[in-house]
Symmetry: C2
Subunit: 372 residues, 2 copies
């Protein structure tokens, strides 16, 4: 890994591992959940609230920051650490996911992907080299290669072609990446095919990166298939490099990943669910807009020490969310972030005490159950 | 005034007065600005942030809380003090303003006003007695009578009729109001006519209330006319009762009121302007979305100790607001609340040191000037 970066593994429980990832802007206890700061901020949440919730690393969306304010502005103001109020570790995605999913894609070629910007309507091209240039400008501790993620359910030949292009793009990213204070992670693709996943992992490891990510998962595939893909890839990855499962997911999905040896996660679910009044609790999902909470004096999750549960009733939170009052989305999102970050702390502790299976069983039992 | 309430006047500067208004839930230093918690929360702002900004009393909109969650729910959860996270003093409006301005009004009669609820489309009637019942359920420290506010620019006969009906409704409110731990304020109407304002003030004082409010101002009338109306009314009001200028306004409007002897203000301007990225500063109005702030590393208002200015640059705030990220509205609103609450503290200090004229001149000089 680059100077200033190191992964120290402290404990194992089966394939699961607990450790500390050192970065230039701080140490991250792993496995770790990274809240998503789409526009350089986690929807409505202040940096000190993230810290209080236990966040140690935050993810920003390269594509959105490139469109506005532009990486030149971010760089001039000290990178993401100086521009935003979060001075701890950052990770940026490559921007590819947004281009493939949000923008009107015009053309996908070997050189890169050309698309129409939804902000100003102009045509832009994102290449591996451009993805590196933007992310080096943003200055996160960890950057990601540009990959091509095929549609789930695409034909095998299409998945194979995307996986092979991802490798070629990874090589170009590696060559174009210059910052010695920024780690660069490769991304393994391969859809739901074991052989492709294995080949992709081997090829990516041969190129050599500071860490490795699973791409193209969490797109509707069965949990068992995903677990198989993750295991196949992990068998090929060096033990001393961080492993990142991108974009997932529900608490059970995170614990699946932890059990398989994943170190890093990100997902918009805690904040998206929060905005819609859906709360994660140790008893299951609590839909706060439900009429039965209208006059419920209990905290949203009894015993939860988060600022929402410590100070407010289900009745008040239900009212705020139903009224569309911004404080409702803020409080519910904050609760969910506390839940996710606590869950990962519990997972770390469980790994140290060989208790991960019990934690998984507990979370699995209530995964889809509404709070009574 | 009712037991538990008292207004102690500590200093005067011309007609201006600085004092302390005791209520069952705490003492309010006057003149005071009351942030508006439309849906039981000041748009996206947490109660502890209001306290940190120096707020001592908060206003809630009776009409919205009646529609949802209903005063029965609020009462069962300990009134506004228990239901929301703000346990300090509360004031509720009568609900009349929202009915007259937001709802589809069906009929205005001596008995009350019948309107169609924008929430469920059903017909409802708000009477003076109903306004008291709802506000007693909400349990604020200070309740307001139901008044009829004529359209600005209505014919003199129409204004006279509304002013006389306001008096008759005030009498019914006084009779219907039972809570001994809740102050009830009368409202003076009279449009822009000196004689009507004076008559309305005299009639309201004859009924006897714990405090008195100016209604029907801040609706586009000239500043000088408003000052005349306020002065005419103040000549009729007992010195030992709080005076409240409802719904105003810009910093210059607040200082006009302070100079005339007003004790309480409320306005949505700090939060509404904040949501649109317009910041009040000692140098004038700062429109943070302006392109010239795109890469400005300065805090929004240099020297301001608020959480927004202490931690963030104009560039970041501009980006957040332009991106529609909720944290932008939150930070800008918080800055504006700090500005308003600090302005009122400065006004209190100025009254004690006979410096109010100098403060007014300073604020007036930059009132409409954009920050360069």
């Amino acid at each position: 890994m680059k100077p200033g970066f190191a992964l120290h593994l402290d404990a194992r429980d089966g394939a699961a591992r607990a450790g500390r990832l050192a970065t230039p802007h701080g140490v991250v206890a792993t496995p770790a959940f990274m809240p998503v700061a789409t526009y350089g901020a986690v929807r409505g949440i202040a940096p000190e609230e993230l810290r209080d919730a236990g966040a140690q690393i935050v993810l920003a969306n390269t594509y959105h920051l490139h469109e506005r304010p532009g990486e030149d502005v971010v760089a001039a103001l000290g990178g993401l650490h100086g521009f935003t109020g979060w001075s701890g570790p950052w990770l940026t995605d490559s921007g590819g996911y947004q281009v493939f999913s949000l923008a009107e894609r015009l053309e996908l070629e070997e050189q890169g992907v050309t698309f129409r910007s939804p902000v100003d309507g102009r045509s832009r091209t994102l290449t591996p080299e451009k993805a590196m240039e933007i992310q080096q400008g943003l200055g996160a501790d960890i950057a990601m290669v540009l990959d091509e993620c095929p549609d789930p359910g695409a034909e095998p030949a299409r998945v194979r072609a995307a996986t092979q292009r991802t490798l070629r793009w990874a090589e170009r990213c590696r060559r174009a990446h210059q910052r010695s204070d920024q780690a660069l992670f490769g991304i393994v693709q391969g859809g739901g095919a074991e052989g492709l996943r294995r080949d992709s992992a081997r090829g990516t490891v041969d190129l050599g990166f500071d860490g490795y990510a699973h791409g193209g998962l969490g797109l509707g595939e069965a949990r068992s298939l995903r677990s198989d893909m993750v295991a196949v890839v992990h068998a090929e990855l060096p033990d001393d490099r961080p492993r990142y499962l991108m974009g997932l997911g529900r608490p059970v999905d995170l614990l699946d990943g932890v059990a398989a040896g994943v170190d890093l996660f990100d997902c918009v679910l805690p904040t998206r669910h929060g905005r819609h009044g859906v709360l994660f609790t140790s008893q299951g999902l609590l839909r706060i807009k439900n009429a039965r909470f209208r006059d419920d004096p209990e905290p949203p999750e009894p015993g939860c020490p988060c600022p929402c549960c410590a100070a407010h009733s289900r009745a008040y939170l239900s009212f705020l969310v139903r009224s569309g009052e911004a404080l409702g989305a803020r409080l519910a999102s904050l609760h969910n972030l506390h839940f996710y970050l606590r869950l990962l702390r519990e997972a770390r502790d469980a790994i140290a005490s060989s208790g991960l299976a019990a934690l998984r069983a507990r979370i699995e039992a209530v995964a889809e159950i509404p709070v009574p």
